[in-house]
Amino acid sequence: MSSTISSFLYLISGICFIIALRGLSHPSTSRAGNYCGVVGMLISIFTTLTLDVVQNYAMITIGLLIGGVIGAIIARKIQMTALPQLVAAFHSLVGLSACFVAIAAFYQPEAYGIGKLGLMKPGALLEVALGLAIGGITFTGSIVAFGKLQGTITSNPLVFSGQHAINALMCGIVITLVILLCFSQSPVAFWLIFFVALTLGFCLVLPIGGADMPIVVSMLNSYSGWAAAGIGFTLSNHLMIITGALVGSSGAILCYIMCKGMNRSFFSVIIGGFGNKSKDFQKSEPASNQISVREGDAGEAALILKKASSIVIVPGYGMAVAQAQHALREMANLLKDRGVVVRYAIHPVAGRMPGHMNVLLAEANVPYEEVLELEEVNSQFEQTDVAFVIGANDVTNPAAKNDPSSPIYGMPILDVENAKSVLFTKRSMAFGYAGVENDLFFRKNTLMLFGDAKKMCEKIIQSLN
């Protein structure tokens, strides 16, 4: 196929990807968008296969089949609650394949028309090295994120002294090596870039705690895009540049939204150790003016819910852990049958990835219109009889508005305190991720329901019947 036709087809597939993202502006257009993305991907693969350089179809077909089958099986089997770790795992694959393509390009530049082994243009070397470095960081960073989300690595921030200095040093080493590589063409420098980038990715994510994961996952999403764009520059492939830029900016925007949802700067998240920083705060004895909390059981909760005419449910990561979304939906259905108006309030950073709660509620067949974002719902709490908080804590803490000394001060919260009464479903009185006391627990109109979120919902359902 002539290069004019193939470039044109690559352009079409780039446009398909843009339309795919555009489709996500509303659920009704989203599936058509997804199909458009699939078509774009198929066009790009078939166009590549018709290029003159491609000869070994047997090996390529085997590779495509193995990968496709594995991917399809994973996508079918995965539970929706395990979605964040799945996305993290997928990011690591993009990172690793970016590294592999960079390595292949370095050892066989003839195939891509960018010079000969040991005689590559400095510009091409720079692009290869950038793709390799970003790919390496994405790969190990995503593996650590996966481990933390899966629970195989502790989700507590792991901070040790001198960590930032070491990370900064490694960044410096990578940059130096990239410059060195451009002038020397040395394979040693090339491999050193790879290994230092791998270590750097590992060290960057390790100090970041569990609840900051939405930011980390978005950041890695963004990196996987930049890595693809870097490789696109190497191969002078405009489709890869377009797609890399789209994915990179998408991840960056999500990152920004998540940081805003926590009122934290991106830099402070990367430096890590939110939980640790507030240790002193945590250790100071709980406020002296506190009264003991009012603890209730499912029966009392059912009574309060029955009397209400409108309730707002505030789900958090605890709901995901307990897989309580189906029981919750059943409970909401019973209440709706009694004429209670039920809505759901989603904080931008609830859960472990952007939009995590929305997916779980959608899985449990909660109508799309009942699920509201923070800005839409906050003014409505005053007219709400009961706020039912299930597995969330910090995102409801009024200290974010009232207490300038609190580590979460300035974070946008859901104003559940304005509701006439508040029900908290929690496993214990333990602190949330930020490690701060929530005043709301000690208020008169708050009822604490201790226990597993799912079991609590089931008990409330029994009492309602």
Binding site: I18, L21, S25, A111, S224
Partner: protein
């Protein structure tokens, strides 16, 4: 006599004509190579590169514009669909498979083509997995639309 000389003249004329034809063929061949030379020289003329046809500059132009497109398109994505957004961007960033396919393409097995083969596998796991998971999520959202 005159008949013979006439025939000779004819013969001479024919020879001259064929010589001329040969010369013409040679000249046209020369012209041909000259044109080809001219075009190939024109193609590699550095002046074209300096006037914005440098592939890196073209790439950067496309990159910058695509970043803006991405920015405006992604801000319009409804927050409820941020998880599918991550899954689909993850799937499309596997467009890196284009590079992997080229790496895996030579008939002879060597280090690069084996690395490329693994890159093809990884990227296709991502493509299949990413699009199917997105589809699963979007189906759930659509089911709950009124």
């Amino acid at each position: 006599m005159s008949n013979i000389s006439f025939a000779d003249k004819l013969n001479n004329l024919a020879e001259e004509a064929s010589n001329l034809a040969l010369k013409a063929a040679n000249l046209s061949a020369q012209a041909n190579t000259a044109t080809i030379d001219y075009y190939s020289q024109a193609k590699s003329m550095p002046i074209l590169h300096d006037s914005g046809f440098n592939p890196t500059v073209v790439g950067l132009t496309i990159f910058a514009l695509a970043c803006f497109v991405g920015y405006y398109v992604v801000w319009r994505v409804t927050p409820a669909l941020h998880s599918p957004l991550m899954a689909i961007t993850n799937a499309i960033s596997s467009v890196i498979i284009v590079g992997a396919l080229i790496a895996a393409s030579p008939n002879s097995m060597n280090f690069s083509s084996i690395i490329g083969f693994f890159a093809v596998i990884l990227a296709s796991v991502n493509i299949a997995g990413g699009f199917l998971v997105t589809e699963r999520m979007l189906t759930m959202f659509n089911k709950n639309l009124k």
